[in-house]
């Protein structure tokens, strides 16, 4: 039976000002139930101030087979990383 219940992805914002982060998935029949379940499964220990739920089928994921063409061309192009600038001492957290 549980195979028939749609899967949802849950995103929690732990503090105001931070971004929502993916924290896991769960089963629910619709958005309202997904929200209730997310509250029970993921935010019972004071983890969040905001929840997003999205049905997993609505997420388009990159295919693992395509990782070569998608990501590898970037590995040998160090000049795309802003690592050649000298940062002033006062500048922190860069």
């Amino acid at each position: 039976m549980s195979q028939e219940i749609p899967l949802w992805e849950v995103f929690i914002r732990s503090k105001n000002g931070l971004e929502h982060r993916h924290c896991g998935s769960l089963h629910a029949e619709d958005a309202e139930m997904a929200m209730n379940n997310a509250r029970d499964v993921y935010t019972r220990r004071n983890e969040g101030v905001s929840i997003w739920v999205v049905e997993s089928k609505n997420i388009t994921a990159s295919s693992p087979e395509a990782s070569g063409e998608l990501f590898e061309p970037a590995t040998d192009k160090v000049y795309r990383h802003p690592t050649f600038y000298e940062l002033p001492e006062e500048l922190k957290h860069m």
Binding site: I5, H27, M33
Partner: protein
């Protein structure tokens, strides 16, 4: 919220008043304990992971509630008794919970209907208790009501889904409503101790709550496309310590550790 009236500072100096208050508190608190225990039985047995976690969370909420009440009772008693003694070392007749909360987890429909019947009551009750003349009770009510509102949302939501779901879910949940309906009236039954506390402004007026309760429950049942059963009489007894046959089994399991290993601690 402001109390309806302030408690006379000498109120609790009277032994009789104190005894009534303790009896009243047991009548309120034991519901949380026994329902919490019943829900705890479902741990690992929910229909799937999400409701399993939700129901055990609600169980823990109930046990959290009951601790504060028992701590208050222990403090009122002023002897050496602790919250654990009150929870685990009484005999069946000394528990004052309503019959509704001791009814078994027959199936998911029964679990939800029992919870729904209790949650609607509990949220209204805690809402009204925020105006208690007793300061501690006001604080406990204020603390508990957010959880209670969530519980009501959870069980109300499931009631609608099951009632307005498949033919099978509707038949089953209607059966649960029919079987458990006779236990709803007892939620508003008052003992002598309760009446004394209502008169003192410590406890809310149950007659008024009862009217709101049946209005609200009727509304939600009809949204869930379920019928309100017509019954000749309602069952009661738990509040006076007269329980159904289920209670002995609940206590046996719940009290086992304390009876087998007295004074054991975590």
């Amino acid at each position: 919220m402001k109390p309806i009236k302030e408690l006379n500072p000498q109120f609790l100096e009277s032994t009789e008043n104190k005894k009534h208050l303790i009896d009243y508190l047991l009548g309120v608190a034991d519901n949380y304990l026994i329902l919490g225990q019943r829900l705890g039985e479902l741990c690992g047995h929910g229909p799937n992971l999400e409701p399993d976690i939700a129901l055990t969370n609600i169980s823990l909420d109930m046990l959290g509630q009951v601790r504060s009440f028992y701590q208050y009772i222990a403090q009122l008693r002023g002897d050496k008794s602790t919250e654990d003694d009150i929870a685990f070392l009484r005999k069946e007749r000394e528990y004052k919970n309503v019959l509704l909360v001791e009814q078994p987890n027959t199936d998911f429909g029964y679990v939800i209907v029992r919870q729904f019947f209790f949650d609607v009551y509990n949220r209204m009750f805690l809402g009204a208790l925020q105006q208690s003349a007793d300061e501690t009770l006001r604080a406990l009510a204020f603390k508990g009501i957010k959880e209670a509102s969530y519980h009501e949302r959870f069980s109300g939501d499931w009631l609608k889904r099951l009632g307005d779901g498949t033919e099978e879910s509707k038949t089953r949940v209607q059966q649960a409503v029919n079987d458990l309906w006779i236990y709803t009236d007892e939620l508003f039954h008052t003992t002598n101790a309760d009446d004394a506390m209502i008169a003192a402004g410590v406890a809310p007026d149950m007659l008024q709550l009862k009217e709101y309760y049946y209005e609200k429950v009727g509304e939600l049942l009809s949204t869930a496309t379920l019928e309100i059963p017509e019954v000749e009489y309602f069952q009661k007894g738990g509040k006076e310590g007269l329980h159904s046959e289920h209670m002995g089994y609940i206590l046996t399991e719940m009290q086992y550790m304390q009876r087998a290993y007295p004074d054991s601690k975590w």
